[in-house]
Symmetry: C2
């Protein structure tokens, strides 16, 4: 697995640098390596142990500094908390080569684009923002697998400055990982992700916080079953990562939370009034929508 594969003919395979070799970055490296789409893989990170583990697992060939990564890599993936985007890009910039393609895996896009513009200046065209929709409940290089992106969706939110060639190149890389690529505006991405990812995480955490703060929380936890388990699973996620995501996507989050509150008012009024028909209709619509989604999503 550590051997450098030599191309059959023509150009050498591109060098990949992954900034943040955890589940997302490590799986990207593993998938591209498996597909033969990259040659040498460099890993950058603050956690020394984690990087050594990534080398042992065969996810990366060597540790590198941000400066080395900028000097040597043809493709750079940022798989860091969105709040770290600007600092990482600023550190990469001085040594960055002209042809190098940079992308990211951040869960929000408007804030990331803003940070990238501030950090990269006239080099902004080299940065094509992206977001692979793939589970983040497990973390660290040990969780990385080559098939994480198989059948998953990756959203690209290209900006005007991105040359068509850069967009195509990134699309091909993600497709080599087995993913389906869709393109949309950063604004649309952020609102949709606020709705189906960030707000559920926020609500799950709010609920978990409330139960844990109750006087008889021990008894509550003792009687919690499989519904509780599933509803609160995401609340176990990294506080640092999710704080960053929420702050980075604040306007969309607040807007969507407002919509959820309206729906809650509606349902709670039906409960308060003991209106069996209205309650049933609301529950039925939710159940049918969820069953339909479940039958189509391919997520078991």
């Amino acid at each position: 697995m550590h051997e450098r594969q030599q191309p059959v003919g023509g150009e050498p395979r591109p060098v990949l640098a992954v900034i943040g070799v955890g589940l997302i970055g490590g799986s990207f490296a593993a998938a591209l390596r498996k597909a033969g789409a990259v040659g040498r893989v460099l890993g950058v990170g603050r956690n020394r142990k984690s990087l050594q583990q990534a080398v042992e697992l065969g996810l990366i060939d060597a540790e590198a500094s941000l400066e080395q990564a900028a000097r040597e890599a043809d493709i750079i993936l940022l798989a860091v908390p969105v709040g770290a985007t600007q600092a990482v890009l600023e550190a990469l910039r001085p040594s960055l080569r002209d042809h190098t393609l940079i992308t990211d895996a951040g869960s929000t896009k408007l804030g990331v684009v803003e940070a990238a513009r501030a950090a990269l200046g006239e080099r902004i065209g080299q940065f094509v923002p992206g977001h692979p929709i793939a589970g983040a409940e497990k973390t660290g290089p040990a969780a990385a697998v080559a098939d994480l992106y198989q059948g998953r969706t990756v959203v690209l939110t290209p900006i005007d400055e991105n040359p068509m060639q850069a967009r195509r190149r990134l699309t091909r890389l993600w497709e080599a990982c087995g993913a389906r690529v869709i393109v949309m505006e950063p604004e649309t991405h952020d609102l949709v992700l606020a709705s189906v990812s960030h707000v559920p995480h926020f609500l799950s955490s709010v609920f978990m916080w409330q139960v844990a703060s109750a006087e008889n929380s021990d008894l509550r936890m003792e009687l919690a079953g499989s519904g509780f388990r599933d509803f609160t699973r995401i609340a176990a996620g990294s506080p640092e990562m999710w704080r960053d995501i929420f702050l980075s996507n604040r306007p969309a989050m607040l807007s969507e939370l407002g919509e959820v509150r309206k729906a809650l008012d509606h349902a709670e009024q039906a409960l308060q009034a003991g209106d069996a028909t209205q309650l049933h209709d609301f529950l039925e619509r939710a159940a049918l929508a969820r069953r339909f989604w479940g039958s189509r999503s391919g997520l078991k």
Copy 2:
């Protein structure tokens, strides 16, 4: 499996009647049969096909009417929507024998006790209310398994009129199913279950309803990932069953929803203010509580 097992000596094994032979009732029958704790098993239900399937699966020996069940059974389990409790008990009462033990599997207890008092009158002592905490996402006799209750918790909420002998008898039956029995007041049960079961279901449905009602719901559903899947899984449950549960546990539901709203206000204010420290602390407390629960609950 259909053969009547003869006891080695002494009394014949008790006859069990299950009213509502789905996941809960069918699994109770299968577990007690496997443990050798019951002899003949009768099944009562409105759905003819479902009952025939239960006979074919070996969950019950024969279909029966409510009247037959009351005449022949030594133990009767009601596994029907809580809203049907009173009508079922009223139909059982005229033919009920003195020694027969009745229990239920309803998700709320105060309303069930009230319904049982109204239906059973001076026979109320024969009814020992119960609630097995076991997944309800799959339904129907085909989902029933003998080990559903293995390692699970069953709450009994006995009333003053229940003789100690009846409580002990029911405890032994659930223990024969592999369950751990705990006893509490109906009020406590209802508040705790509102918190860890009914409110999460309500919130999951509210959220699912809101997403499904959005203008661009198709795009949202397309980008929904594994967090969405888990957070909304319970929203796919039976609208009839959950409407009944919510209405039957209305005061506790409204009280707990009020507490969740307070927690939501608190977290949303931190987001609105962009208060990174407060957001982090709230997320960390939720994450630690969830991880701790996950490590102890035995629910994977």
